[in-house]
């Protein structure tokens, strides 16, 4: 939410993948005029300089999972204006506008899918919907996804893109940090693997809750990741921020994330991780076989 204006690039992505025409795009990093078809073929990565454009949640999911395997949940959950919040316009109106312009009801999409033969729960934030901010409905959907992974013993992948907590829902937003973190605590205790992918941008209360609580934390190149925004830091401290401050690479250098993964390599890296983390999970499943049978179908059925 505190990002410099210039980084809010026009998304090529709302239309990538659904076959509509888009105009030529200019890469915000290298200023090259890009051909939409080539950009789409390059998964929204600038074919001149490697700049990673932001993607919509549906495109993200389609890019990673086996075709036709995604079964979306909670599509009808949408934000409500519990506080009667009004800034320059009423929050209820902002919700309506966001729903109309994005075609989704909330800033997160989740469901079960199969990735390279591995069933998993995938939760994906959508920056196009109110900056991917986490309100009560967002937090509810994320927590539902985490709990599905817990009860179905499926690996969890959460892809973040968010300005942080949604201010228009006040404390109800802030408490979603505690809610998602508590659910992840249970998932971790159950020994179910959780992979977090941080994409541009991941900030504020999202970084300070579910996004950073994974077993493996991946990030896309150049993604801005942090807690306080650069503008807030400069206003508060008058500090000169180092080159590359809060980029994925910066965080990797400081030990906060495990791997910076270029977008085209994501499917391979995720497949490898799912295989590595699934190997020893077998023993755990064996111990808990009766409950697993009673509550959830075996993974083989799902695949």
């Amino acid at each position: 939410m505190f990002r410099p204006k210039t980084r809010y690039v026009a998304l090529p992505s709302p239309r990538v993948g659904v076959g509509e025409e888009i105009d030529r795009l200019t890469c915000p990093k290298c200023d090259t005029s890009l051909e939409p078809a080539r950009l789409t073929a390059a998964l929204g990565v600038c074919y001149r300089c490697g700049y990673h454009f932001r993607l919509r949640a549906p495109e993200r999911i389609a890019m990673l999972v086996e075709p036709g395997s995604f079964r979306e949940e909670d599509q009808n959950i949408t934000a409500t204006d519990a506080l009667g919040f009004k800034d320059s316009q009423p929050y209820s109106k902002r919700i309506e506008q966001s729903r109309a312009s994005t075609g989704v009801n909330e800033a997160v999409t989740w469901g079960e899918a199969t990735l390279a033969g591995h069933p998993l729960v995938i939760v994906c934030l959508d920056f196009a919907f109110m900056g991917g901010s986490m309100g009560a409905a967002t937090g509810e959907k994320i927590t539902n996804g985490i709990e599905r992974a817990l009860h179905s013993r499926l690996p969890l992948l959460i892809i973040s893109a968010s300005g942080g907590a949604r201010m228009q829902e006040g404390m109800l937003s802030l408490m979603q940090m505690a809610k998602t973190a508590a659910a992840l605590g249970r998932l971790g205790a159950a020994g179910t693997p959780y992979i977090s992918l941080l994409t541009d941008p991941t900030m504020g209360g999202v970084t300070a809750s579910f996004a950073s609580l994974a077993d493996v934390i991946l990030a896309e190149p150049g993604a801005m990741i942090g807690f306080a925004g650069a503008r807030v830091i400069q206003q508060a401290t008058y500090e000169t921020l180092p080159e590359g401050f809060q980029t994925a690479e910066f965080l990797w250098q400081h030990g906060m994330i495990d791997l910076v993964v270029p977008r085209p390599e994501l499917p391979t890296v995720l497949r490898q991780l799912l295989e590595l983390y699934a190997t020893n999970g077998v023993a755990k499943d064996f111990d808990l076989q009766p409950q697993a049978n009673a509550s959830a179908p075996a993974p083989a059925v799902r695949g």
């Binding site: 939410m1 993948g17 659904v18 949640a57 549906p58 495109e59 999911i61 389609a62 999972v65 075709p67 036709g68 995604f70 599509q75 009808n76 949408t78 409500t80 519990a82 506080l83 919040f85 009004k86 800034d87 320059s88 109309a100 994005t102 989704v104 009801n105 999409t109 409905a137 937090g139 509810e140 907590a165 201010m167 006040g170 404390m171 109800l172 802030l174 408490m175 979603q176 940090m177 505690a178 508590a182 659910a183 992840l184 605590g185 971790g188 209360g205 970084t207 300070a208 809750s209 950073s212 609580l213 942090g226 807690f227 306080a228 807030v232 830091i233 401290t237 401050f245 809060q246 906060m256």
Partner: protein, 270 residues
């Protein structure tokens, strides 16, 4: 002045009281080792407290109550220790937020806060949180997850400080009074929303007028809630704590899907 204007003014008054420089801070309520074990009646409790600092020197030393990652990691150490020794945890919240500095980012402030959220959610001891003055965003929540949330009468707790909110949503920090009203950040607001369990009464005009009376009221409320929680079996306590957060914002407003199911991915959906 319109009704709306007077509500905004009253809300802003709460914000100013919550930040009053003479307001009692954590060390004025607790006469014990700061951020460590303390005696409460016949038991030991683990105190985790944020302190803004009274004098210029103390403010510099306390970083105005804005913790760096090290502060949250110290709190984590105390949480783990409280579990080992079975000390109930009492957290005193008084911060405008976690410290927004380059160093804090480099050393993983978000990671430190997130880890505390899980540790507090899972700690197998009763946890009471008391907001003394300002509860600022994730910086407050980083020590503020627990079984009960108590708030001093003139304290506030907000997703973002009104100034930050005004600067982001109105792009004008001068709109802070409106922002404060819109955020629903007073103790009374949180009680109405079901987020705060109890409002601890303050002396007339605010806690800064009588430290002793404020401390007595806070002590009485903490003792009462602690007695209740100590009678609950620990598994039940943890389940209740989980559900306490789980139910916040469970808004199943079954509205129409924005798009027909299945059109969301080129993969096709169901």
């Amino acid at each position: 002045m319109t009704d709306n204007g007077s509500i905004a003014a009253a809300t802003w008054e709460q914000v100013e009281l919550a930040r009053h420089p003479d307001r009692p801070y954590a060390l004025d309520y607790i006469h014990a080792i700061f951020g460590g074990p303390a005696a409460l009646d016949h038991r030991t409790v683990m105190v985790i407290a944020q302190q803004k600092g009274r004098t210029t020197a103390e403010r510099a030393m306390r970083n105005f109550g804005m913790a760096n990652p090290e502060g949250y990691r110290k709190a984590l150490r105390l949480i783990r220790q409280a579990e080992r020794f079975q000390f109930p945890i009492i957290a005193f919240v008084d911060t405008s937020g976690a410290f927004p500095g380059a160093g804090a980012e480099e050393r993983g402030i978000a990671w430190a806060i997130a880890e505390n959220l899980v540790a507090l959610a899972q700690a197998r001891v009763p946890i009471l949180t008391l907001v003394l003055g300002e509860g600022g965003s994730g910086g407050a929540l980083g020590i503020g997850v627990g079984d009960r949330l108590l708030m001093m009468e003139h304290s506030i707790y907000s997703v973002a400080m009104p100034e930050a909110c005004a600067s982001i949503l109105w792009r004008d920090i001068a709109r802070k009074v409106e922002a404060a009203q819109a955020l629903k950040l007073t103790a009374a607001d949180l009680k109405r929303m079901g987020l705060a369990d109890e409002i601890v009464p303050e002396p007339s005009g605010g806690a800064q007028n009588d430290y002793g009376m404020a401390a007595d009221a806070a002590g009485a409320a903490l003792r009462r809630h602690l007695a209740t929680l100590e009678a609950v079996a620990v598994d039940r306590l943890l389940e209740d704590r989980y559900q306490r957060y789980r139910r916040i914002g469970a808004t199943y407003s079954a509205e129409r899907p924005a798009r027909p199911a299945g059109s969301l991915t080129s993969g096709g959906g169901e």
